[in-house]
């Protein structure tokens, strides 16, 4: 894996190079500033597979560099691991909002650093394998516009919506936060009801647009607080937010509904899109650790999906009651 490490401290760069070499990562390029990193990106013919960026650097900091990389088509999905000695959670939040996938804290635990880099490597390998399959399936002499295809459960990435990050990044974010920082955070799940029907009725483009529009509505309604949102597949979103912000799920659902209806959504063939978003129960991250924190993300998603099931069960019960009344 080709790695570019950027840090203004030469000792950190030496340390990273040695630790990475000890886990078999020997193709490492270093830069002492964001400006030097840009020069390397312009002059190097081969693209990088992973970036390690220090957050606190003079002039252009690591968060700005991360955001700039995400604007380059070649690096929209490349794993970016932030390196930080910052205890302030807001810096970490900003780094994830800018597109970071993971972070490690200074001083390093070398075993932990190795583990984070391996996760990134696995992701790169999985993507490279997918790319090989697609490339093998395409005739070489003809350029086809290949339409994307999704499964209902697929956690595909959502681009260009502020505060929306990949699911794996959200998992890394909450699993790595210190217990002190977790104390003030909660997770809330959102689910698009009747998503199976919407999925069946949509082209891949329509489906991606619907999910992106709903993500935008959720973030619009959250705009005044610290938050990160991720698409969890199956029409479900997970949102990690500061518990200072009191979110009443019912009122929030209405806000999102109003926001979606103001967008006036249509399928590509002109049919109007009718959809409703329900919210689950907020889950506080207090007193959780390790795997239980990662589980909390799933719990929040399941909680939102269960709301739809409850609606459905209520509707069936009402309908049965009505039919029995008619028969009687």
């Amino acid at each position: 894996m080709r790695i570019l490490s950027v840090d203004d401290d030469p000792i950190i760069l030496d340390l990273l190079t040695e630790v990475l070499a000890s886990i078999g990562q020997t193709d490492v390029t270093v830069a002492e500033s964001a400006t030097q990193a840009f020069d390397i990106l312009q002059s190097d013919c081969l693209p990088f597979d992973c970036f390690l960026l220090d957050i606190q650097m003079p002039e252009i900091d690591g968060i700005q560099l991360c955001a700039a990389l995400r604007h380059m088509p070649l690096y929209q999905r490349t794993p970016i691991i932030m390196i930080t000695a910052m205890s302030d959670k807001s810096y970490i939040d900003k780094a994830f909002s800018a597109g970071a996938m993971d972070y490690v804290t200074k001083p390093f635990d070398v075993v932990e650093l190795g583990a984070r880099v391996r996760i990134a490597e696995n992701l790169v390998e999985a993507r490279n394998n997918n790319a090989k399959i697609i490339s093998a399936a395409k005739p070489t002499e003809t350029v086809y516009k290949v339409e994307k295809s999704y499964t209902l459960e697929e956690r595909f990435p959502i681009d260009n919506v502020d505060g929306v990050i990949d699911y794996i990044a959200l998992e890394n974010y909450i699993c790595q936060l210190s217990r002190g920082s977790l104390f003030g955070s909660s997770i809330l799940g959102f689910h698009i009801t009747d998503i199976d029907r919407i999925f069946q009725a949509s082209s891949a483009f329509d489906y991606e647009s619907i999910i992106t529009d709903v993500a935008e509505s959720i973030t619009n309604c959250l705009s005044c607080s610290q938050y990160l949102v991720s698409y969890a597949g199956n029409g479900t979103f997970a949102c990690v937010y500061s518990s200072d912000q009191k979110l009443a799920p019912a009122a929030f659902e209405k806000e999102i509904r109003d926001s979606i209806s103001s967008m006036g959504l249509y399928y590509s063939d002109g049919r109007p899109i009718v959809l409703t978003v329900v919210a689950g129960s907020p889950i506080r991250l207090t007193f959780r650790s390790g795997q239980k924190i990662a589980d909390a993300l799933l719990e929040a998603c399941i909680s939102a999906e269960n709301i739809e099931y409850e609606y459905h069960t209520d509707a069936v019960a009402m309908s049965n009651k009505y039919i029995q009344g008619q028969a009687g």
Binding site: D9, I11, I12, L15, E18, K106, P107, V110, G114
Partner: protein, 112 residues
């Protein structure tokens, strides 16, 4: 990490440790210069910020390279200066702030 991999890593880190000590010599002299400015200048804000920056760098690597106490002192120095300059919450006095810088300098002298 198995024993052989651990030993290999320690070998690799030895060279970085030597470079850390070499650079620490320069950083120590910068810290001494800044400490004198803090003592002499009426407004020591800039000197404190530069000291905080150096402490931040030391705290980021010292522990990994086998100097955990020195790394902790650097981290304490950084935090004390941040609190002193922020002027909110518990604010260490300038004398308390100078003391942690002096402790850091004394510890750096032992390593160098």
């Amino acid at each position: 990490m198995n024993q052989a991999a651990g030993d290999l890593l320690q070998d690799r880190l030895r060279a970085v440790r030597i470079r850390f000590i070499e650079i620490l010599d320069e950083r120590r002299s910068d810290l001494e210069h800044l400490r004198a400015q803090i003592e002499l200048q009426a407004d020591s804000t800039n000197a404190l910020r530069e000291t905080q920056f150096i402490a931040h760098k030391i705290s980021g690597t010292a522990s990994t390279l086998g100097f955990p106490e020195f790394g902790q002192l650097a981290s304490d120095t950084e935090e004390t200066i941040i609190k002193h300059l922020s002027g909110t919450g518990f604010i260490p006095t300038i004398d308390e702030t100078k003391q942690v810088i002096d402790d850091l300098l004394a510890s750096a002298a032992k390593i160098g």
